[in-house]
Symmetry: C3
Subunit: 319 residues, 3 copies
């Protein structure tokens, strides 16, 4: 386990720090985390038992619904021997008595060694980190960031495509509202991949993000309204449309009705054996008819969340 020695060394980019955005990490930081995650995956596959986080407590503060993120964090923490406190529904907490987010976090940071927070407001995780005595993990702040998702998306690319660079990646759908796309795009750019953003014009990635990606990282960046421009991709990433980010239900419906779908026909026409990724849940944008295909990696992708989050928790906490 070459990754293990790095924890107490100066090379651990996560120890004792909050993880708020993928952009706080360098390319070599990401490589180190993915290496540790690889060690974790081998241990899980072997059914080995080790408890480096015994007696450590993780608090999950989820102000928005979640299955994947909350359950995989809680599984990861317990697989490492740690305990979990928290809530899945802010209506059971002092928030209903009018408590501010800052106060809730300040208090809970007395009860736990690490806080994992999901909140509908952009910037809320940063605010939480300012008021916490312990490290904070941003598990999604509205349309903002979701760095641990981006990390296991990268792990998926490595595991399924064998490399992290020089790939054509098509990012499809509601590019404006899907927080996972933005975090993933920055990580992909650091490793020198070419990006094609495919979405209706009103939901395209903002121009300043596109400019920064191409200028700062020197990669190819294209935009398109046609799913046909994903046919020569190595990786197709297609989140659902985020209904809860639309103020207006009618506007949501208008977009949802003429949206992109990955189906068997698309797979037949694709030229570079692309893997299909999704942060899930999916609604109609990935047809169940491809679920059995080797390249339909979205469920395995969800599974990679556990070793990656185990690596992150261990690196942030283990002495």
């Amino acid at each position: 386990m070459p990754g293990s020695q790095e924890h107490d060394g100066a090379n651990n980019p996560l120890f004792g720090k909050s993880l708020l955005s993928i952009r706080q990490l360098s390319r070599s930081d990401i490589e180190r985390i993915l290496g540790e995650a690889e060690s974790m995956k081998l241990m899980l596959d072997d059914g080995k038992v080790e408890q480096p986080l015994r007696n450590r407590i993780m608090a999950t503060l989820f102000f928005e619904p979640s299955t994947r993120t909350r359950l995989s964090f809680e599984s990861s923490m317990q697989r490492l021997g740690g305990g979990v406190i928290g809530f899945a529904d802010a209506n059971t907490t002092s928030s209903v008595k009018g408590e501010s987010l800052a106060d809730t976090v300040e208090v809970v940071s007395n009860y736990a060694d690490i806080i994992v927070i999901r909140h509908p407001k952009i910037g809320s995780a940063d605010e939480a980190a300012m008021h916490s005595r312990v490290p904070v993990v941003n598990a999604g702040d509205g349309a903002g960031q979701h760095p641990t998702q981006a990390l296991y998306d990268m792990f998926t690319v490595k595991a399924e495509k064998g490399r992290l660079e020089k790939l054509n990646v098509a990012l499809v759908g509601d590019l404006k509202n899907a927080r996972t796309i933005r975090s993933f795009a920055y990580a992909l750019a650091m490793f020198g991949n070419n990006l094609t953003f495919i979405g209706p014009r009103q939901l395209q990635m903002p121009g300043e993000v596109l400019r920064e990606l191409s200028e700062r990282y020197g990669i190819g960046v294209e935009t398109s309204e046609s799913l046909d421009d994903a046919l020569d991709a190595d990786v197709v990433y297609i989140p659902r449309i985020q209904k809860e980010r639309f103020a207006d239900v009618e506007e949501y419906k208008r977009h949802a009705s003429n949206f992109y779908t990955i189906d068997k026909k698309f797979m037949d026409r694709a030229t570079r054996d692309p893997i299909i990724m999704s942060p899930l849940p999916r609604l109609g944008e990935i047809s169940t008819e491809i679920d059995g295909m080797k390249n339909a990696v979205y469920f395995r992708q969800a599974g990679y969340g556990v070793p990656v989050r185990m690596a992150i928790l261990k690196m942030m906490l283990a002495r």
Copy 2:
């Protein structure tokens, strides 16, 4: 502990399999599980500490309210050293974003070593098992099956009556909608007990079930509308009326108003010292005036849920 050796042997009927219906088990399978449960009960009584499921994770997916089933499964798993993830309220999950049950299960099966599911739809546990990479326990699928309940109901009969066979058992109430009655009836039939189904005609057990019980197992099967036909029973089993299974509140009220009640008067008239069992919760159908009687076993029955579920979890999971 004679039961313990059987885990890695060919005789363990649960190892690595889903437990979806009591009918997948034979009489000798049930005896084996109850034997293991007896070992667990002795360990609990002695306060002994053993953790065969250390580092294993159980997911509880409860799409319907529950106290008993969820809490006793979670207690059982932790008493064996394992961890728990899950939800008690589907409104805190991706179900509200429109995710299908199949997808939720497929994802969660990456996070856990076993899934315990309760869902209002008949057949949902079978559907879950088809999409899960890990064994699934049916903890109630609407008016369908609830096999672990039937197993600790059997454990209760053995513990309180000293034997599992040749008993007169009266099953009273809403026979059509109470899923626990059907599972329990099949288990009782396998052991050669006589069954009397007592309920209003509109809520009687369907004819094909009655026929199968009597023809396949060669036991005595009777139906009645009068609680007096329970007076010569050894065991009286009386679940509450399942309000949530009635589409029409008025129909529910009509049934609830003229329903059977086990009270002190009934106990005085009973001829064979019957034990009173209930899956709980109770509403009015068991009077609190008998709570102090030795034969009012329903709370002890709830307690037997822990050693029985410990046995089931250990047999399904322990290497």
Copy 3:
């Protein structure tokens, strides 16, 4: 650790008993608990790992919203190696099927070694204790008692003021409805502190409580409507107004609008370097402008909840 030896001795005032009211404890009982809590705090500060409650299960039955109490109990139990089951929302339980509190407790006491209960009805914890086979901790019964809160309030006074006696303590706000004030006042009285109750006349502490405090404990007891009478206090304790205890929203608003506020101006005018305490959450009654001051101890106070609850759990349960 001098406190540890007392567990199996006759001197442990908590072993095997329910903790329902601060009034069941003597002054020396409280000193013993605070001593054990001090040991726990040292262990936490050292990051030492010990698991005296391994394989023990705590059930948290929360019929009312809570962040602090539930999460700090769950953290405390897990830091001691124990497991946790329970609910944060009664709507996910059999209560919605009409089950009585007595029955719920009777059942759950089969699954756990200790029950921690919060319920909106005064006296509900006593009722729970009558129906439980295991010890019960009252974690708030409406406007009634909250003894573990009072114990860590006392711990806070000791830690921050260096002593537990001969202090002037101002208790400010909704004295009629805030359950934490009443429990704390009795504990303070046992140790011979002088109490000033400051609140609008309609929300004053009932006369019989005031009389009992002064006559039974021989301490100084005063009432006032003016916050200026807190200026010469050593300790100022100011809970939020309990909106949920008012039947009438208008009445609540009338009180909330002209209420007391601890701010920088108050701190400047205070003469005895007072510490500011609150059970939290706070609404407007403590200005965030004093959060950075050494004497703003309310967040540290929340943190003391963990070692104090660890001490209580260990003393109640450890063999």
